[in-house]
Symmetry: C2
Subunit: 366 residues, 2 copies
């Protein structure tokens, strides 16, 4: 049996609670395999790492992340660390992982689970059956461009600068990921940028178009300004299949799309690197789309589904364990069909279950 | 009688059609005043100006804009000009007006007209009575920062760069506008940025907080990350009163907010400069939030309400004609209450009116 190594980084807030749920699911798959299909190690990231080491991720943890077959990540941040210095704020741990592991492709499905179409703030008919995949560039753009600084100009004035930078190759490789994935779905890519005000948008459109013409003429491609894309997501979300965009627009658009589904607490994401030229393996990190939810931390009410579904994505994308991934996704759907609802997805006044019961319901369905 | 000079810049697409409607309303107010309360001059901008002069706005038109008491702007752009050079693309005309007139404060109300609560893609109870004001910084940020360029790196690679820049004074003055307006409303400001990844977000939060502490301790202030703000707009839009944010986040968030209302074709906006230290007058441009709608151009189906409501904002903010502004806003509501609906706001299968009938209905209500 091939053993796959997982680094678990629960992080802050509800992170540890939902990671415990993922841990139970991992244990179940190990028992089923009758051996060590997965080995896990747990470490600190975010505010928890800052409290322990004064950095949002330690060098030692970074080494473990680089060595692991995949990283499962919970969530980082919270009011406790609102005033820590910029370079060691909780998010810096996540950003460093993305950058140093070169996880340039962030896959964010926005799926409306049938059982939850009523939970959306959108009218049911607009979101029922919704299945969008946002492919977000994750290691470039304004997140990492230099200069990124605050200068003191004297006389009480400061100047803050962030730099949006994209090179051709960065756009090319994320475009390929989007086109490849579109071929496994409804064969349509919407490329979103602000070419009417940003030079990076001009280059973005040019490169995406060139990649399509050269290698994906069979995939439908449309270009949509990012502001309009935000609008269209609200207006008629089912018009989309795959949306490809830069790091910052991807951040905004994927959050809007996730919220539309009424299933925010359910949505996983995968961040992938390039396949290794010799082994074909790619570095990968899997995390829920939702955040650390300080408001419900410690109450046992967090929805573990996004975290568990993130592990399902790891099964699929990192380990090629497609049958296992399908099994787990189906168990989640079964638990929902049986009526189990955490507070975030329950209709007003309905009975709710906590993190542990939801986890138990999924494991029972496995 | 004081005469107010208006420069009308209809622009492209449906721009000229809806500007004709505004023209009729202006004529009505002149007749009512029994004289030249308003003088108007009409000129080219956007693709129309490019076709005529090879620039998105001519120097002569810029001079007229600088001299006018207020500018009414229609919309610019369309597929015809998709491939014109970047510096003379239609949007460049609008951006130059904003920059050279120093219109740093963009006010974008997102209001759900009672008669239209059903037209939203959100559930009715979430948007009924919605009244948000987005205060967007309009002359700074990534829209104008330098460098903004595409460099050729050789070996087939290009590098595109855009620069987000904010100085203390730019954040300070837009924060003041937001706090002042909040005092005339529900007294709450949400300041939105990405301080967890952008230095401009760090400075933004710092300055907004300082302005509040010094001069607006009575106004409630909350800070919300821009991605979360996009989510919260979809989830529970009525939690907001005034949202203040930078140029790019304002572009995205105001479009999402506008679409939520179901009233996109109805929403006006005002772009204001600083009051002149001696005369107290501020440069101003008024425009609909919606775009040039090339798909319905020439069909006579465009909704003129956003354009007419933009003139109502001019009455209020540029000319202090509050009674007239109220009268016009009420006439719009009356026309809607009487059942007049252009296609964009009509329920499926319902009777619709065209641009001219809607304009006539509003003038009849005046
Ligand atoms: C936590 C934060 C740095 C992060 C981002 O902005 O990328 C988050 O919002 C996300 O979308 O994963
Ligand atoms: C036309 C375009 C340049 C403009 C912008 O991005 O500001 C528009 O989207 C707007 O919001 O007014």
């Amino acid at each position: 049996m091939t053993t796959h190594s997982l680094l678990l980084l629960p992080g802050d807030g509800i992170g540890p609670e939902i990671m415990a749920s993922a841990g139970e699911v991992i244990d179940w798959f190990n028992r089923r395999a009758g051996g060590k299909l997965f080995t896990t190690e747990t470490d600190l990231v975010g505010g928890a790492a800052y409290d322990a080491h004064g950095a949002a991720i330690s060098e030692e943890t970074m080494q473990k992340a680089l060595a692991a077959d995949a990283v499962l990540f919970g969530a980082v941040g919270g009011p406790k660390w609102d005033d820590v210095p910029y370079d060691v704020r909780p998010e810096a741990g996540l950003l460093r992982l993305r950058k140093d592991l070169q996880l340039f492709a962030n896959l964010r499905p926005a799926i409306c689970y049938a059982a939850l179409a009523d939970a959306s703030s959108l009218k049911k008919e607009l979101v029922e059956g919704l299945d969008i995949l946002i492919v977000r560039e994750l290691t470039g753009g304004v997140y990492f461009g230099e200069p990124k600084e605050i200068r003191d100009l004297g006389n009480g004035q400061k100047r803050a600068v962030d730099t949006q930078v994209y090179d051709t190759f960065e756009i090319e490789r994320i475009a390929r990921v989007a086109f490849d994935l579109a071929r496994t779905r409804r064969n349509k890519v919407t490329s979103s940028e602000k070419r009417n005000v940003m030079k990076s948008g001009v280059l973005w459109k040019e490169v995406v178009e060139r990649v399509r013409e050269a290698d994906y003429p069979d995939v439908e491609l449309e270009h949509m300004l990012a502001d309009n894309c935000g609008m269209q997501l609200v207006r008629r979300p089912k018009q989309f299949d795959v949306i490809v965009c830069d790091n910052l627009f991807g951040d905004m658009l994927s959050d809007v799309a996730a919220m539309l589904t009424g299933s925010l607490g359910m949505l996983p994401s995968a961040s992938l690197g390039a396949p290794d030229p010799t082994t074909g393996r790619r570095k990968a990190l899997y995390e829920p789309v939702h955040g650390s939810a300080p408001d419900i931390t410690g109450t046992g009410r967090a929805n573990p589904i996004a975290m568990i579904a993130s592990f399902a994505m790891a099964l699929r994308y990192s380990f090629g364990l497609v049958e296992e991934a399908d099994l787990l996704d189906k168990a989640i759907a079964t638990a929902l069909d049986s009526g189990a609802r955490t507070a975030d997805i329950a209709p007003d006044g309905a009975d709710t279950v906590g993190t542990e019961e939801m986890t138990a319901a999924i494991i029972a369905a496995l």
